[in-house]
Amino acid sequence: MTMNSTGRPTSIAANGGSGTDVTVSGSKGLLQAEGLIFEIGSTDKTGVDLAKPKGTKNRLGGVTRGAPSGLPGLTEPEAVRHYVRLSQKNYAIDLGLFPLGSCTMKHNPRLNEKVARLPGFADVHPMQPQATVQGALEVIEELADWLMKLTNMPAVAMTPKAGAHGELAGMLAIRAALIARGEGETRKRVLVPVSAHGTNPATAAQCGFIIDEINAAADGRVDLEDLKSKLVDSSDVAGIMLTNPNTCGLFERDIKEIADLIHKAGGYFYCDGANFNAIVGRVRPGDLGVDAMHINLHKTFSTPHGGGGPGSGPTVLSAALAPYAPVPFIVKTDDGLRFVEHHDEAPESFGRMCAFHGQMGMFTRALAYILSHGADGLRQVAEDAVLNANYILARLKPVMSPAFEGYCMHEALFSDGFLKDTGVETIDIAKGLIDEGYHPMTMYFPLVVHGAMLIEPTETESKAELDRFCNALASIARRAVQKDPSLKTAPHLAPARRLDETRAARSPRLKWTPETATLKAAE
């Protein structure tokens, strides 16, 4: 064993081995089992072993920790292997098609990453003097200009840091506008379709509004008659929150009439822009009467997401809402670009949503994406996204049950109708996909479709990959109709078999303690 000057081991000791019924190591072939860092590390190991500095004086005044912290240590090779093994357990867009509906899991062009890592963007600090970061400010301005042009809206709040944060920005602007009109206390009702993303009613409630649900019509779109009935007495209506294309993957063809009805009622129109990928370059929300819409940069304009990574949700605003936009925002002066940060310069602004200026890394990626595609390329993004979804819809129609008649937009929605009397459920189809090497589709959402399976391939998949996916899913559907019992116990080939989701939700064990380790060993 190699020893260093203080005698702590720096090479890998034999791993204890947890012991399972399959193999002694828990590994299956080259798919390696990996414990928690607490289970594989030990307090007497370290990756770096620095000599105690000489001639220093303790200035902590007697509050120095007496007992060891108990944190596990790993040698450098152990630490490297730990994280690489964990990364191999992650299903990612870089590994294969990621069919999660309503998530727009598209390929992230490497050019974006290169641009975002340029030191002039990556190494700036938000507290730096603004004169030294004019280039970064120009990127924000240029991106803002593109977003306004693509949506035909006169203003955009760049700071919101995710889709739901953008919703919050839009709804706070609506609330500020109502307060300015003297109707902040009287207009409290926000209309939300039943198929909405859950964040819509949550955002409205967070802003103090009361939610009023609008039913869906049989064709999966807003029931216009139900909407009209809710507007008969409209003196308390603050606005509507509508997603277009909606969560059923359908274009709300009555959107112009809906906008007019809401405006006539004295309310504002918030459009959830999560599905902008389906219409970017083809439809400008500003032409449809939208007052506010967030844009998920991390969906429509690629950039990494889905791993808890940064989101970015700039929110475009109509002329009626623009004065209430959050600070900070950029203005042009003779000396260059500068942030308006304070109330005295923006007296009508509803305030500040985050400490600094939004997600700089996302801005550079989104602008790189936009500039490398150009206006015609962005238009083709939407066209190909819709084409790919319709290809999946058409290929799977013979073996599964589409939720609605006709074409879809960017995502294909199926119900569990084809599973009737088979004993197989939506969740079994999803687990079967794992055995086929795919991340499952979105399931049981939207709630308006029974046993929903929502598939969004995005434009970045080739026909060959779409065929591979469709073949896999079609074979699962056929097995389901033949009541193949092995689907009920899938996945069979994944590192972990079917997990007990009920027990995980009812009595989750979220914290590692030495006691839970003992429990696990006993199981």
């Binding site: 049981y444 709630l447 989701e501 009920t502 939700a505 009812r506």
Partner: protein
């Protein structure tokens, strides 16, 4: 005691002017394993057809609507502690709340068992 049903799959069993409310067996089966229940506090006023409780399963989160207008007498703490009770006995020990009815006339608009069973057969 008479039991009535709503088209949102709640049941209400009325004794005097107090009704015991829960979700139906049909609803519990459709939801799958219930993992979380949120109930209104005693004393809270609830309005017919407005949401009053939340039930969450491994598949979905749903609102539970008040079948009648009235005041919450008590909530069933047992299902908050042990949501599995809703699946085990939805129309018995898995009850949600007791409501003091403001207007017993509202019950006439609800379904009886036969009408509700027919309604479910069409779902």
């Amino acid at each position: 005691m008479t039991t009535y049903y709503t088209n949102e799959h709640e049941w209400i069993s009325v004794d005097g002017d107090v009704g015991t409310v829960g979700i139906t067996k049909f609803a519990a089966e459709k939801l799958g394993d219930v993992v979380f229940v949120e109930l209104p506090d005693a004393g809270k006023q609830v309005k017919k057809d407005a949401d009053m409780a939340v039930v969450e399963s491994v598949k979905a989160a749903s609102d539970v609507y008040a079948p009648v207008t009235g005041q919450i007498v008590e909530g069933n703490g047992a299902i908050v502690d042990e949501p599995a009770k809703v699946n085990e006995d939805p129309e018995g020990a898995g009850w949600f709340v007791k409501i003091k009815l403001a207007d017993k006339g509202q019950l006439t608009g609800l379904m009886d068992k036969a009408a509700y069973d027919a309604f479910c057969a069409n779902q």
